[in-house]
């Protein structure tokens, strides 16, 4: 089959890699005789930020064409679909039928295969765990022609290796998940202001029984406003209402902003306005699920805000064992001092539901995620310091959002990586995997 040489960008648009791309449209496209020579990597929407969805010197197999639904049980909410179906498509299908995703990340423009490969998490991690926790089974296709039906009881080792396996174990052909019933599109949401990590932890503990929780945190404010933020809770509304389909987004971020547009002053101003938008300490509202879960999806291509150079994401989790959340505080201090932070910064408590994924990222503790514009030397140096602090405090970083961690850091975060290697398909590789397993 013919391939095309394209610039395939990850969401962070960094690192820039030009590569061969071969779209897959049918499961039968994935067989040795039809695939090109050299390394391969199956990918979905390319919404991971760094290089887990990139491959230099090889062919990316874009699986978006595997977008068919296979089976749906309107009684139980059981959905089987091909792995290139996006979560947005599942919502369009399921919401009018009274069902919702069991787990969703902050964007609905990811594929089911990508959600498995990165073992994504959402605002309900504290109670529901990761995508892998809600996965009933899937089929894994290997380049040697083997087709493995994987579930917690069948081919369980392959099930574990593929969840969070970064696409390296083979092509996920289809998957089966159980959707959760809803009676309304809306979310009953409570927003509460806080100042400091201690208050954030207190609020999180008190909200352990609520479906969804996440907090926006100001990474620019210093002094008595240090670590101020807005804690946001959500619960599916329980009063029946019409279940319509979402409108299509109509706003596309029109241009690549110049580098100077995002700076300490503009972000600081935004943060102050955002923090003070809500006058009361606590406010309760009923909001549609779209702005609640996917505020940024309303603007297509919002990554252009960071200009041509792209952006770096940083997401770590620091375990509870870390005394007094010293690691999170150090990381926040480091970011505040740098003045590089964007306004897209979130902090959340991960619960103790253990994912079946061998290489899964979430673990009990506090997770912090934020964007940085790419500024030569400055942002790379900052990210390197943040990664070191994460290592020192026994935490780990999220491959789906990384373009910087060193082999030493990765191997400290994921000591099981050597055991994982035996499950990697010999024809599959990624720019990320080459980077973090390089000899140092």
């Amino acid at each position: 089959m013919p391939t095309a040489r394209l610039r395939f960008e990850s969401w962070g648009r960094y690192p820039p890699i030009e590569t061969e791309v071969l779209p897959l449209h049918w499961m039968s496209d994935f067989q040795a005789a039809r695939l090109p020579q050299g390394d391969l990597l199956p990918v979905g929407m390319g919404r991971s930020y760094g290089d887990v969805c990139l491959l230099d010197h090889g062919t990316l197999l874009t699986a978006r064409g595997l977008d068919r639904l296979i089976e749906f049980d309107a009684e139980t909410g059981l959905l089987r679909c091909e792995a290139g179906v996006t979560l947005a498509e599942i919502l369009d299908f399921a919401v009018p039928r009274g069902f919702f995703l069991p787990i969703t990340p902050g964007t609905k423009y990811v594929t089911v295969g990508g959600a498995i490969a990165n073992d994504i998490h959402g605002k309900n991690h504290h109670g529901s765990g990761t995508f892998g926790n809600r996965l009933l089974r899937f089929e894994l296709m290997r380049t040697d022609g083997a087709r493995l039906l994987c579930s917690p009881t069948e081919n369980a080792a392959w099930f574990a290796a593929t969840i969070g396996g970064l696409g390296l174990t083979g092509l996920i052909a289809w998957a089966e998940i159980r959707l959760r019933p809803i009676v309304s599109r809306r979310i009953r949401s409570v927003c509460e202001k806080f100042v400091g990590i201690d208050e954030f932890v207190e609020l999180s503990r008190a909200a352990a029984h609520v479906n969804y929780s996440v907090a926006w945190i100001d990474c620019v404010a210093r002094g008595r406003n240090f670590a101020r933020g807005i804690f946001m809770l959500g619960q599916h509304h329980d009063q029946p209402e019409p279940l319509t389909t979402s409108a299509k987004p109509w706003l596309t971020f029109p241009i690549n902003l110049p580098e100077f547009a995002l700076n300490r002053t503009s972000v600081g101003l935004f943060n102050t306005l955002y923090y003070n938008r809500q006058f009361a300490k606590r406010a309760e509202t009923l909001v549609d699920y779209e702005p609640f879960f996917y505020p940024l999806d309303r603007v297509l291509d919002w990554n252009r805000m960071y200009g041509k150079a792209g952006l770096l994401q940083f997401q770590c989790v620091i375990p509870w064992e870390d005394q007094k959340q010293a690691g999170i505080t150090r990381i926040l201090e480091e970011i505040t001092r740098s003045g590089l932070a964007s306004f897209l910064a979130v902090i959340k408590v991960f619960g103790d539901v253990r994912s079946p994924g061998m290489m899964s990222f979430p673990r009990p503790g506090i997770t912090l995620a934020l964007d940085f514009p790419i500024r030569a030397q400055v942002s790379f140096a900052l990210l390197d310091r943040l990664a070191e602090i994460t290592v020192e405090h026994g935490g780990k970083m999220y491959p789906a959002k990384d373009a910087r961690m060193t082999p030493r850091q990765f191997q400290a975060f994921y000591p099981q990586w050597e055991q994982f290697q035996q499950y990697i398909d010999p024809r599959i590789n990624s720019a990320f995997w080459k980077r973090v397993t390089a000899h140092v």
Partner: protein, 253 residues
């Protein structure tokens, strides 16, 4: 799934059901609850498309694996479709081969394969379906042709000739059946971003299959005769058709 569909539900026959444009049309019709009889060459593909449509529409979707380039199976298949759905309201012809122009220039069998698939075999289906719709006094025959049929170009005139012949056939068939209540629609898409064109570099003229599908359904609703999709191809092909031959023959289009 064996009982015929009830009245009021659109009964759709898709010939070449696994092509990118056909799949986009099917998804849009599934949202309206249509019943489908799907014909395509690869059994696994047709089955997976049928399953998808059943889930989306909640209605029946029958899968029939058949190589439509071979006309010997046409009549039996068409009878199966009528029996399964209890009739046909809309038939969409959506299969064809782009072929390899260089090989078609070098040898007649390669050229003949393009002509037989894109023209002769379609004529076999249209003949039966035209008579069927004429007898029932209604029906829509929507046929995907191509802008390539508007003028023979150096780079793909064999494919273009197959589509030009198809366009002419459809013009005549429309004149015959329009007065019998049958709607004959010639669809002329420009470049479409699909597996058929996966090997070509893409530019702004390439349309997504779903945009073409939306245009097809609109043209059916409006009872159009000929539709260029996306519509920008109407004026483009007007210009292309009107370039004097002494200039056109020098181009590399």
């Amino acid at each position: 799934m064996s009982e015929p569909a009830s009245k009021g539900v659109l009964k759709v026959l898709i010939l070449g059901a696994t092509s990118a444009i056909a799949m986009a049309v099917e998804r849009r019709l599934a949202a309206e609850g249509a019943v489908f009889y799907l014909v395509g060459r690869d059994p696994e593909r047709v089955r997976s498309v049928a399953a998808d449509l059943r889930v989306r529409s909640g209605a029946a979707a029958y899968a029939d694996a058949l190589d439509l380039a071979d006309t010997s199976g046409h009549e039996a298949m068409l009878r199966r479709a009528v029996a399964a759905m209890g009739g046909i309201d809309l038939a969409l012809v959506a299969y064809g081969v782009l072929g390899d122009q260089a090989r078609a220039e070098a040898s007649y069998p390669a050229a003949a394969r393009i002509l037989e698939t894109n023209f002769n075999s379609v004529v076999s289906l249209l003949t039966w379906l035209g008579n069927y719709f004429e007898a029932q006094g209604k029906g829509v025959l929507a046929v995907i042709s191509s802008v390539a049929g508007d003028r023979g170009r150096k780079s793909n005139y064999v494919y273009g000739a197959s589509k030009a012949a198809l366009n002419t056939f459809l013009d005549g068939m429309r004149a015959r059946l329009d007065r019998k209540g049958v709607h004959v629609l010639t669809i002329r898409p420009g470049f479409v971003d699909s597996p058929m064109t996966a090997h070509l570099p893409k530019n702004k003229l390439f349309a997504q299959p779903d945009a073409i599908a939306a245009g097809i359904l609109k043209a059916i609703r409006k009872r159009k005769d000929i539709v260029y999709l996306p519509p920008i191809w109407g004026p483009i092909m007007f210009i292309v058709r009107n370039i004097p031959e002494f200039i056109f023959k020098k181009t590399n289009l």
